[in-house]
């Protein structure tokens, strides 16, 4: 490398800088983005699907798509997370649509006889996952604009400003959607208790 050329080093490089390097073909920059955000996307994917196996698939595919699209996408603000969350959300919905009809039909089949099994020992864990699945179903029933902000800000814990920039709406609009969505989710989840 030529002397005097300024070099940006890994830990301090912003997402936007890494993304621009990745767009120019820098694999190490994209790998750094992966290492930085894999855990957040994986947890987000779990909250979108209610399944750790599906979360791994979804996370993996989110980064594959990000790599393929890196030259076509410009980051809003400084974080890659809003866009990664959006890709994960789109993938989750594509997968869910195909499964929904089958599940509806399966519910018509007779219940099997009740037998004690290992599930009793992990009841607490399943209760938590069951709760998550109820929330996921309730989120899916929200109007599109509310669902988007819930996925980004409530499930994904993104700052409101980032979601507003990604969705190209005012922050006050995001806050309004969140407020309405919270009320609707509480009502929906109350009904299921």
């Amino acid at each position: 490398m030529a002397a005097g050329v300024p070099v940006e080093t890994g830990p301090d490089r912003a997402d936007r800088t890494l993304w621009e390097s990745a767009s120019a073909g820098d694999e190490s920059a994209f790998t750094e983005l992966f290492e930085r955000h894999a855990q957040a996307v994986w947890n987000h994917a779990y909250r979108l699907t209610g399944s750790w196996a599906s979360a791994e698939d979804l996370t993996s595919n989110t980064f594959l798509i990000a790599w393929r699209k890196r030259a076509d996408v410009q980051l809003v603000r400084d974080s890659a997370l809003p866009w990664l969350y959006t890709v994960a959300g789109n993938l989750a919905r594509t997968e869910h649509r195909g499964a929904r009809r089958r599940l509806r039909l399966l519910k018509k089949t007779p219940e099997p006889p009740v037998v004690p099994d290992h599930a009793d020992t992990v009841a607490a864990q399943l209760d938590g996952e069951q709760r998550l699945r109820q929330v996921i179903e309730a989120v899916r029933s929200l109007p599109r604009s509310q669902r988007q902000v819930v996925e980004l800000c409530l499930l994904g814990d993104l700052p409101i400003a980032d979601a507003a920039a990604l969705l190209d709406v005012a922050e006050v609009t995001v806050r309004s959607h969140i407020s309405r969505a919270r009320a609707q989710l509480r009502a929906l989840l109350q009904e299921e208790k």
């Binding site: 947890n43 399944s51 993996s60 393929r68 996408v73 039909l105 699945r133």
Partner: protein, 406 residues
């Protein structure tokens, strides 16, 4: 979201991170090679006929390299090999002048936008074939006088040229089938995997100014209806097509031919499991990373007829080696339900817990598994997941975990 009582976030296990990182690195490696394709040894090569296109046959001895080196040609070299095999090297610029403007891939289908001696042309490679556009053919332009299709292949790849000063992105669309956006390269070349059948569709296009935005207000010009492109210079089947002489292969052949959904590289899919219950049938196929399930059933409206449907694998990652393919129930009254999917190719046995109190064994063949669900089947843990364990002939497990049941 804690006010909704959700489980807390977890630390990402290192083995999960490793698997996902490996998948990503493999994708990067394939991108470096100029596209994604899966090696299929060239033993004998099959004639592929696409419309009235000029077709060439290439025969190579078993195990021989496909082109001049120590390994089969890949990427753009495969395009040149096809031109050589067709005896048409005099009709394209010399290989040393070829410069790839860009390359894109969808699954195992890749396109190379090439510029040579000021002439733009395209090459498409699939699992089994190569198509090269004719660099010197006369193009028919859209009403804007700037935009023309150069290639529109049977796999649905549409590629063309336009004025890069006028448009930085191009939307291709037809009727109600939606639009596909493509970035326009500085050479004016653009391309998109439309998934449409060129025999049944004619594309139109809108130019955009900003390739990174999807806002409707940024359209800058309608190129209009795109006349069909000239015939390609070369269409060559240079890889072995799948052997479909088995009963499952015959069923897959028929189903793929009759299903209304279009499948890229249909002849590359090897047959997997075949499930039959009277006139209800599910047959699986696998080609490289891709898998499909093709179903047939009596037409409820006209029972003497048969309905065919094709389902493709929506996940292309490899982090979980066993995965289910989502297939809709077939039939109306009490239809049989299929639980099908893919497994590592060396898998010989798969046991599943589908909530009936004992393991159920699926049929396994060609890297796929399948079973008709028994009466009373349901997700065993009530969370929409089924437990499966797969193993190879030596009894070594390749997967032991949960996959989506529906």
């Amino acid at each position: 979201m804690t006010d909704f009582g959700l489980p807390p976030r977890r630390a990402l296990p290192e083995e999960v991170r490793d698997r996902m990182r490996a998948t990503l690195q493999e994708e990067m490696r394939q991108t470096r090679r100029g596209g994604r394709w899966v090696f299929v040894a060239a033993a004998a090569v099959v004639l592929l006929v696409v419309g009235a296109v000029s077709v060439t046959q290439l025969i190579k001895p078993s195990g021989a390299p496909a082109a001049g080196g120590t390994s089969p040609a890949s990427g753009i070299d495969r395009c040149w090999s096809a031109v050589e095999a067709a005896g048409k090297t005099s009709e394209v610029p010399a290989r040393t002048e070829w410069a790839v403007s860009y390359t894109e891939a969808r699954g195992d289908d890749s396109v190379f936008a090439v510029q040579a001696a000021g002439v733009p042309f395209f090459c498409e490679t699939t699992l089994t074939s190569v198509t090269v556009s004719d660099p010197h053919a006369a193009l028919a332009y859209a009403p804007d006088g700037k935009t023309a299709l150069v290639l529109y292949t049977a796999s649905g790849l549409a590629a063309g040229i336009t004025d890069p000063a006028a448009y930085q992105a191009m939307d291709l669309y037809t009727g109600d089938l939606g639009a596909t956006m493509s970035t326009v390269a500085t050479t004016g070349q653009f391309s998109a995997f439309t998934g449409l059948d060129p025999a049944k569709t004619q594309l139109s296009s809108w130019g955009r100014q900003d390739a990174t935005s999807e806002k409707a207000g940024e359209y800058v010009g309608q190129a209009g209806l795109l006349p069909p492109p000239p015939p390609p210079l070369v269409t060559l089947a240079d890889r072995r097509a799948a052997d479909r002489r088995s009963p499952a292969g015959v069923a897959l052949d028929e189903c793929l031919a009759k299903a209304p959904e279009k499948l890229t590289n249909a002849n590359a899919y090897s047959p997997g499991v075949l499930l039959q219950d009277g006139r209800y049938q599910v047959v699986l196929g696998k080609a490289g990373l891709d898998a499909v399930a093709c179903t047939s059933q009596p037409d409820p409206a006209k029972p003497e007829n048969t309905l065919y449907r094709l389902y493709s694998n929506t996940f292309t990652g490899q982090s979980v080696p066993v995965r289910r393919l989502s297939v809709q129930p077939i039939g109306i009254d009490d239809p049989p339900l299929a639980f099908v999917g893919i497994v590592p190719d060396d898998t010989t046995k798969l046991a599943a817990d589908v909530g009936v109190g004992q393991p159920v064994y699926a049929d396994v063949a060609g890297g796929t598994f399948g079973m008709w669900l028994p009466a009373g089947a349901k997700p065993p843990a009530g969370d929409g997941m089924a437990w499966v364990k797969s193993e190879n002939a030596a009894g070594t497990p390749s997967f032991n975990g949960w996959i989506p049941f529906m």
